[in-house]
Amino acid sequence: MDIFLQALASAMTPMAIASIGLGALIGLIFGSIPGLTFTVALALALPITFSMDPVPAIGLLLGTYIGGMTGGSVSAILLGIPGTPSAAATVLDGHPMTKQGNASIALGTAVIVSVFGGIFSLIVMIVSVDLVSRVAISFGPAEIFALVLFGLSTICGLCGGSLIKGLISGALGLMIMTVGLDTIDGVQRMTFGSVNMMQGVNLLVAMIGLFAVPFIIEAFAVKTSMPEKSQRISRVKAELPSIGLLGRNLWLMIKCSIMGTGIGAIPGTGGAIASFLAYDHAKRFSKKPETFGKGNIEGVVAPETANNAVTGGTLIPLLSLGIPGDPATAIVLAGLMIHGITPGPALFMNHAGEVYGMYVAVVLAYLWVLGLQLVGIRLFVHVLKIPRELLAVGVLVLCAIGAFSIRNSVFDIYSMGAIGVAAYVLVSFRVPITPIILGMVLGPTLENEFRTAMMLSMGDPEIFYSSPTVLVFFSLALLVIGLQAVSEFKAKKQPKNEVKADA
């Protein structure tokens, strides 16, 4: 208890509170502006922390991380361009809500459930870090492969009308990620002798291209009729979600928090897979699954709760095992190391004070995020008043800057453009874009874990059916695919007959 009070004292200093708030603000700004990503914000914040005391320093980084994770939903909802890969699932229902004039409700819900998910996962982390990290250790390459495969099966739920088009899109995502230097064998793949191709396609660059470029092209290609536009402006209001709305979704929020925390705790997965699984789960168990993709609030609640629950979850392997779950937490790890806080099993013996200080910092960061976002929504919604063409120009500039800043590579700007134009073509053929992101996020993990598992077993596939965990995830994946196939078959039966009659 003494240590806790001491930690509370060190985290409650004006300096610490201010640096956490600053971090949250930076994260929110970078997370919510399309093109700019909070991984870049973290990289910029890292050198600032060198000269700070440990708790404010870590607070600044955690604040940026949490602010960014939450901010990603803002542009996903308002513009349909996710600020982070974790917010890609939020676009599906969040953006339609904006089109219906309910942007502020979607934004308000997103931030409130994010804070709920984040605090929930922090509590889980505090009470069960030891237990959960032991479970996480039992996740070897085969288990992670199975989990990721299960994650990929959610493509079924994202296809909209056609399963085939969804699969095409998912496979494209998987293929894009094979370009570059293969990390396992160290060989070049599909680089055509070009040094720039060797760095591969960056996930964030591709994401900017996939969502932002079609937005920009559409803004200029489609001459929106004036009445519709003015209608939209008049509908912009800053209304927050009611308590009743949140109350109705409490059970969903709890389920998605558990999902997010659990997935976050497994090294090498992360926010995107959690938010897609949560979205798929919400849709499958919803009373009105047909309204998903058309602005169902549950489609915002589920992924946003889950991707913030991941923040607490990823702290478990980060602190207890020293394994960062994604590039963002890798930077947090660097910040910890520089201040002499080496994560691992001995961390809780040597640095209990700092660890408790971090817990308090996470809570403070969420309070900051809640406050900043609820005030910010009133400002954010005014973005919708900007004429689409002007907005598109702004987005274009920001995206070019964003794509460049990730790796300081001009080539990435071209990649963004090329991927974006391809995405626009796909969109015009009604091929869904979201499965590409899912394929890209999960592709490298899927491939590497499979290969590592096969190396471990010396080429014996037995490793994939000897572990109960693996079998559970395989069955879940099969179940999802089976259910989808059945419902697709049922839905197709009727129209198919009609087509036949036509022909």
């Binding site: 760095q199 020293g322 099993p345 013996m349």
Partner: protein, 321 residues
Amino acid sequence: MTKIKTLRRATTGLLAAAAMSFAGTAQAEFPDRPIEMTILFGGTANSIAQLLTDLMSQEMSQPIVPVSRTGGGGAVGYSYVVNTPADGYNIVWNSNSINTGNHMGRIDFNYEAFTPIARVSTEIPALAVNASTGWEDLSDMVEAVQASGDVLRVGISGRGSFTHLTSAALFDALGIGEQVAYIAYGDGRAPVELLAERIDAAIQWPGQFASYVEAGELNVLAVTGDTRVNVLPDVATAMEQGYDVNISMWRGLAAPAGTPDDVVAALQAAAEAAVMSDTFQEASDNIGFTPAFLPAAEFGALIAEDDAFYGALLTELGMAQ
């Protein structure tokens, strides 16, 4: 253009004069604008580089700006810097990857395309096993492996990675190279895999193992350099244990070949002052590296020597191109 240049010269003159009155090391001519340091990797490499640029900037009249150009195992960053003018305004935070990158066919130029400036740090790999094996040093492991005749599963970051090359050299020296199967993870998950006993041994950086050693869950059998490491002072080197292996990862600074000597000397002086500073020495224990300044000439000799070594090793592993 000329106007800008004159203006720049004028400001530089002022700045340089101001700088010279504070520190005698700064040169009047160089640098007259910020210097860009290309960083090739994330993680430890990035952490050290951020700190180094911060400290070197305090020594020079102009800031040194760290710019991350990662990817392709360093190929992207090296290729960028090698094509910049040889005037010292573009330097690269290099490592053994210049040798391995060339021999593995990722870059079509070798270390001779760069002028060495100074070695800054070394990182010494360590070999760890699960504590339940009961192995305390290298000979324990060698005897157990030879007696059982089983294959030893060794975790590495990826084929051709530094951990792979170090493992290959070490297990050859131990005489059990034939009984080793390498498991590539593509990232630093080795400690967890050791803990779960999915692999039998792994070579990674001492900092990754330190916490587990303290908790009594892993044993570190040896470090592969010629000196012990601060984070694990009780662990003997492989050479102390009678095995002829001396591999460590060095990091340093280089500029495109043909950079003038006085420019190199100015950068070398700034690097030396940064490495010798208390801040750098303190940070080294936290991040897990050893400050190891070496001036340009000796650094160059080391790179050339390493190049032959890694060339031969990669050829032996069938990975040379």
